[in-house]
């Protein structure tokens, strides 16, 4: 089943009088339960692509469908795009983010951090806590749920972030350099966790510049100058 469908995506930044073509006509299809790695040098457009897939950014041109919903639609000259609040809703319901810098809220416990997406989804308190606890157990952090991020190790923080990404049962998990701030052993553990999630049926898109990490995925795309340069599917 086709989960992501990007067609002819352009993203042009206007910096002063210069137009920077971060994305230069990207076409991409991602199936459900695929494990996809995005590689490429800095400035190749992989972060911009992730932001557009994650509904954090809006393309200058092109159409994007996620899980059957049309998010950006190019109909001849008419460019139709979702509003800020609609994008927030889609992010909340369909997308789980794992960031390089974890991006946890420092003053809240691990549990409350995991609860956040459920709060914005309007889930009642008791159900929310139950689901957040269950998800923290899934990432083996049941005994740390009342700790704040500064009381957790880097690997534990990233596990909290993974739990937060999972808690609302998203269609897709977007991991942007998830091991970038971790030592190799902890990074290895997190990659193991992502592989487990993939085995359980989740769709994962991973941005990395490390080959051995990218190789864990069953499909690797290489980006260059805002375009997909190579698309390798493993058997």
């Amino acid at each position: 089943m086709l989960l992501l469908k990007l067609r002819n995506i352009y993203r042009i930044y206007h910096i002063g009088k210069v137009n920077v073509h971060a994305l230069n006509g990207v076409d991409l299809d991602v199936e459900k339960n695929e494990y996809l790695s995005v590689m490429g040098p800095s400035g190749s457009g992989k972060s911009t692509l992730m932001n557009i897939i994650g509904c954090l950014d809006t393309p200058t041109q092109g159409s994007y469908e996620l899980d059957g919903m049309s998010i950006h639609k190019e109909d001849r000259n008419l460019f139709d795009t979702a509003s800020d609040d609609q994008l927030a809703y889609i992010r909340n319901q369909k997308i789980g983010f794992v960031f390089q810098t974890f991006n946890l809220l420092p003053r809240m416990t691990a549990l409350h951090n995991v609860e956040l997406p459920l709060i914005y989804a309007g889930v009642p308190k008791l159900e929310r806590i139950e689901r957040a606890k269950a998800t923290l157990e899934k990432v083996q952090l049941a005994d740390r749920m009342y700790h704040r991020p500064n009381e957790l190790s880097g690997g534990q923080r990233q596990r909290v972030a993974v739990a937060r990404a999972l808690v609302n049962n998203p269609s897709i998990i977007l991991a942007d350099e998830p091991t970038g701030n971790l030592d190799s052993k902890t990074g290895h553990d997190i990659m193991g966790l992502l592989s487990d999630l993939h085995m359980q049926g989740n769709t994962i898109i991973l941005v990395t510049h490390e080959h051995d990490i990218a190789e864990r995925a069953d499909r690797v795309i290489y980006m260059l100058d805002g375009k997909i340069n190579e698309d390798n599917k493993k058997k």
């Binding site: 932001n51 954090l56 800020d84 609040d85 927030a88 809220l105 914005y120």
Partner: protein, 407 residues
């Protein structure tokens, strides 16, 4: 929806309490603003409350023919003091000629000391009034009676005392009528006691007084200066017409030519009301001025601190938006923070006002009302919303990618 609202409120509260010192300093402007609004309010309330008591002393349909007007400037006083005295015989003449006047009483006041056995009451306001005052004065008699026309004309040594005087002279006597007290060394028989009237402006008791017949006072004290003539407007007569009539007759009595200005004053309760109105307006304007200024400064302070708060929490806003927080959720979160700061400031201001009202009441009047509390609270909420809306909508509009990159 309710969950998210609740969450926003909680976050707003936490944000305030995480920066207590900063929040308190920000509140100062609001505290001072609300303090001045509500102090002004309590003073105006207080004046309103005593207004009726004070007016009760002066009859509603009584005119006072006197040498001086009740309210005048300092320079005028030098002019007025050279006016001729009000004369005793005016009373009878006005009562006879003026159709709209039913009774006229000559009155004069002096400070005396009353004694009964070992106890004495000093600084008593002794009113010497003609028998007609029985039909003009509004003070009620609790026990005993007023003096009669005969007693006045025969210069009887009778006295009606105020409740304060009774308390001092006769602490253990239930009904002092019939007992003799001394005024200026002369015996006077107590024939009545006035009921308690309270205090004007919470300052002077109007019960520390006594009344004796005017003719009696002439025998005891000799001729009095500063006479005042109280004139009762006939029931059903127009008060303004009565003033005109008395004015015309008095000019005649004084032999004033058409172009000469008055050398007497006809006072009435309205003058008091006007003067109180002026005091109220002045207090109101000063209070509103101080309040507006400090609320403005306080509001700017809150706005400033909210901009800082938004800046400090840019990354947090970015994360929240990435996780699905809609614009209004972020907006409400910061708006609540501003409103909570302003509201706590307002509450502190109200609390201080309540404390101060007790102190003020010792030398002036003040009273709290529920309307005042509601006004103060709504003003603080309003200031919070007005000063929070710009920073909050700035926060709500942040781009999540940019915001998450902010360190």
């Amino acid at each position: 929806m309710f969950n998210q609202l609740y969450e926003s409120v909680v976050i707003g509260f936490k944000a305030v309490f995480q920066n207590k010192g900063r929040a308190f300093l920000t509140m100062l402007g609001i505290i001072i603003g609300i303090l001045s609004v509500s102090l002004m309010g309590t003073a105006i309330n207080g004046i309103d409350n005593v207004f009726d008591d004070t007016m009760g002393m002066f009859g509603e349909d009584v005119l006072y023919l006197q040498q001086f007007p009740w309210f005048m400037g300092n320079t005028e006083w030098w002019e007025f003091r050279n006016r001729p005295q009000i004369r005793e015989e005016y009373a009878a003449k006005i009562a006879k000629r003026a159709e709209s006047i039913s009774f006229a009483s000559v009155e004069t006041n002096r400070r005396v000391t009353l004694t009964y056995k070992e106890s004495s009451s000093e600084g008593v306001d002794l009113k010497c009034a003609s028998w007609q005052s029985a039909y003009i004065d509004v003070a009620k008699i609790e026990s005993g009676r007023y003096f009669t026309q005969l007693e006045d004309e025969q210069r009887a040594r009778v006295v009606i005392i105020g409740s304060e005087v009774k308390k001092v002279l006769f602490p253990n006597v239930d009904d002092p009528t019939g007992l003799k007290i001394k005024i200026n060394g002369l015996n006077f028989k107590v024939i009545g006691v006035f009921s308690e009237q309270g205090k004007i402006f919470g300052m002077f008791s109007i019960d520390n007084m006594a009344v004796i017949p005017y003719q009696t006072s002439k025998g005891v004290f000799g001729r009095s200066w500063w006479l005042s003539i109280s004139l009762k407007v006939r029931d059903g007569a127009n008060k303004e017409a009565a003033v005109d009539e008395v004015h015309y007759i008095t000019r005649g009595l004084r032999g004033l030519r058409p172009l000469e200005s008055d050398n007497f004053a006809i006072n009435q309760q309205e003058a008091m009301e006007d003067e109180l109105g002026k005091i109220k307006t002045t207090i109101g304007l000063i209070g509103i001025g101080i309040a507006a200024l400090s609320l403005l400064v306080g509001g700017i302070g809150i706005m400033n601190i909210m901009f800082v708060s938004v800046k400090e929490r840019t990354k947090e806003i970015g994360i929240r938006k990435a996780l699905g927080a809609k614009r209004w959720v972020i907006l409400i979160q910061f708006l609540f923070e501003a409103v909570i700061i302003a509201l706590i400031g307002g509450m502190i201001g109200l609390g201080l006002t309540m404390l101060l009202v007790g102190v003020i009441n010792k030398f002036f009047v003040a009273s709290m009302s529920i309307g005042l509390v509601i006004t103060a609270i709504s003003v603080s909420i309003g200031v919070g919303i007005i000063s929070g809306i710009v920073p909050a909508s700035q926060a709500a509009r942040l781009d999540p990618i940019e915001a998450m990159r902010y360190e």
